[in-house]
Symmetry: C2
Subunit: 202 residues, 2 copies
């Protein structure tokens, strides 16, 4: 029994359910996910879901809060760091965000799609996005290009980081590009996206 197996054995039932829910909700979305799917993924009895979380919806909310935080709040500290330059922020965020998204390629489409379906429901959680928009980073953008709404540049940055992950299943399902090649392309963007951003900031 190696270390990983030990860790798995020690997972509480509650945690096993959450882990299963992360996988299944992210893959299928809330509506298409059955409670039986989650129980099966967790290898646990269906009734435990209600015992531990009261409802499918409550479990979803827990996972969704995590995932929204992951997508939006991940970069928030870096964006609000007053000790780093605009260029430094761009470099750091590009590398680390792409790395995070590479490990969670379905995160963006999952979160954005659920928000689209129930916008009001997540308004409070995403309030964190307001901190991103009022970040030091956005302030720096405004100073660098005074004639352009900094949100434009912010959308470009975020879009260049996120959109390829959203588009990935399109490339995959059409065999338009091998997975290896696409992943390499994503990796290359760690340096390319900052380069393009800096062009826009000249």
């Amino acid at each position: 029994m190696n270390e990983q197996e030990k860790a798995e054995v020690n997972l509480s039932t509650e945690e096993k359910f959450k882990e299963a829910a992360r996988i299944v909700f992210t893959k299928k979305g809330y509506a298409a996910t059955k409670t039986r799917d989650i129980a099966e993924q967790a290898g646990l009895n269906l009734a435990l879901l209600n015992y531990y979380f009261r409802s499918k919806e409550k479990l979803f909310e827990i996972i969704m809060i995590e995932k929204v935080q992951q997508l939006f709040a991940f970069i928030s500290p870096a964006l609000n760091d007053t000790n780093t330059s605009l260029e430094e922020k761009i470099d750091w965020v590009a590398v680390n965000y792409i790395e995070m998204l590479t490990k969670n390629p379905d995160l963006p489409i999952f979160v954005l799609s659920e928000i689209r379906t129930n916008p009001e429901r997540f308004a409070k959680i995403i309030q964190l996005n307001t901190f991103v928009l009022k970040s030091h980073f956005v302030k720096q953008l405004a100073e660098r290009k005074p004639g352009i709404n900094p949100v434009q540049l912010f959308l470009n940055f975020l879009g260049m980081l996120i959109f390829p992950f959203i588009a990935k299943p399109v490339f995959h399902s059409t065999s338009a590009m091998s997975d290896d090649m696409f992943n390499q392309l994503l990796e290359d963007r760690k340096t390319l996206v900052p380069k393009w951003m800096k062009l826009m900031l000249e």
Copy 2:
């Protein structure tokens, strides 16, 4: 009874159902859409859905084919026009795609999310995407910037056009920006995106 009302009266039951399905599927996605939702939206009897389309799934397929075409094939002719320069293509696509997306803001998230959920299911339809990747446009990109995979630049272009529409509900639900302001920002991108693309192509 004005012209519009006349047109509506003449719509066949089948067409009324399709129109309702476009609205509801696009808003809620396949899984969260009930056949009763569609019937209600159409103001028609539920059983007619099966009479005309045999199943929810078949109706969905019809709508999805349309929507995939709209998202991917809309720009295909322009991208394959051998008589226009790279810059001309960029200008035209930016204006017309943003205009199309402004009228169908939910299109991208709907299509991309459904593809994510059932990638294999739409592979044949999206084969059209291969024609985009092998387009004259992508060839032109490769010639202009020989050191960079043209798909990178293509992803940037598409991402700068599409991503803000995907992100719109986030801005809306958090009141991070008024709808008027956000729409203006989208409108501005008709000229800004080509400008940024051209910077990347220098």
